[in-house]
């Protein structure tokens, strides 16, 4: 007895797969996507900067606005460049975990950070600027901080 069932391609699995792909390809957050919540820091100055975010975790945090005792490893942002501080938790959650509803961002000159010992930077408070931002402040600037 002959059968031609092997030659038939069932349509419904293809349609289901197509619907999944069409949905995934067109939507804002497709399944399996890892979403990052970000604070953007833009360097609009002429010097390279190194921002330090006081995120707690054993280090300093607002209202303590001193620099931490250990030298943190910092990202360098060249003039007219930006960097995204990504978090899998929302920044609301992260900032809520701090001692106060405020995130301090210290801006340090890259040359000073590279050439000076951390104790000198810390003791002489060699920062260019400090931003103390609440969640509301960050929301109002759409999570985008621009230096200076």
């Amino acid at each position: 007895m002959k059968t031609n069932s092997v030659n038939k391609v069932p349509l419904y699995p293809i349609i289901i797969v197509l619907v999944i792909f069409l949905y995934a390809g067109s939507c804002d957050k497709p399944p399996l996507v890892e979403r990052f919540y970000s604070i953007e820091i833009t360097n609009s100055s002429v010097d390279t900067i190194c921002p330090y975010l006081a995120l707690g975790e054993g280090l300093t945090q607002y209202p303590d606005t001193t620099l931490p005792s250990d030298r943190p490893a910092l990202v360098k942002i060249a003039p007219n460049k930006r960097f995204y501080y990504d978090s899998r938790k929302t920044w609301n959650q992260r900032i809520d975990e701090l001692a106060a509803d405020t995130l301090s961002i210290f801006i340090i000159d890259a040359g000073v950070y590279r050439e000076s010992s951390w104790s000198v930077i810390r003791d002489q408070y060699l920062i260019l600027k400090r931003f103390d931002l609440s969640v509301d402040d960050l929301k109002s600037i759409n999570w985008k901080v621009s230096y200076p």
Binding site: V9, P10, P13, I14, V17, L18, F21, L22, A24, G25, S26, D28, K29, P30, P31, L32, V33, E34, R35, F36, Y37, S38, E40, L53, L55, E57, A73, L74, V75, K76, R82, F83, Y84, Y85, D86, S87, R88, K89
Partner: protein
């Protein structure tokens, strides 16, 4: 056969919307790591065998995303085809086979390699391509789903792979990223 029908449909619809991106996604099927011969060789073997399911899913997802205008550029690095949407509402990513798909807030300016090595989201998603090679058909249930749900261990794994690869081939120092892209 059904899989090939989906490939055909995704490729044709994508070509109709943006042929340049569609063509680059298509060519990404044959692109392997230029920085490491052995990694490139294993990629060419596992891509259509052990990790064939996610390669197929990544290819079709990328093409359908391009069909709907979600792709602004396609770039190659380390055997991966980065499919990127710019000026999007969120920063997010998903890595399926050798197709890391990225959504950015901003636009990529200048050299793509420079952007990748200074923006950890690209390196992190690249790190997941190693997981795909290791886990093969188990990648989606073991890594993909927990990772999308925010499991820390899958993120750390991807960061460790990314750190190792980009330190070795591009001289990237991962230490400034450790707070937000931890490895342990």
């Amino acid at each position: 056969m059904g899989g090939k029908a989906v490939n055909t449909l995704s490729t044709i619809t994508s070509l109709c919307n943006n042929s340049k991106n569609a063509g680059k996604i298509l060519l990404g099927k044959t692109y392997t790591d230029e920085n490491n011969f052995w990694h490139g060789l294993t990629q060419s073997i596992t891509r259509y065998t052990w990790e064939g399911l996610q390669t197929w899913a990544g290819y079709n997802f990328s093409q359908f995303r391009n069909t709907f205008g979600g792709v602004d550029r396609v770039d190659y690095l380390g055997g991966a085809t980065f499919v990127t949407g710019e000026n999007r509402e969120y920063r997010q990513g998903v890595s399926l086979g050798n197709y890391p798909n990225i959504w950015l807030w901003d636009e990529i300016e200048g050299n793509f390699d420079e952007r990748v090595t200074s923006d950890p989201i690209f390196m992190h998603e690249y790190g997941h391509t190693f997981d795909s090679q290791w886990f093969g058909p188990l990648y989606l249930p073991v890594i993909g789903i927990p990772s999308a749900s925010g499991a820390l261990w899958t993120e750390k794994r991807a960061n460790r792979y990314a750190k190792r690869y980009f330190e070795k081939h591009y001289g990237v120092d991962w230490t400034p990223f450790l707070t937000l892209y931890p490895i342990k």
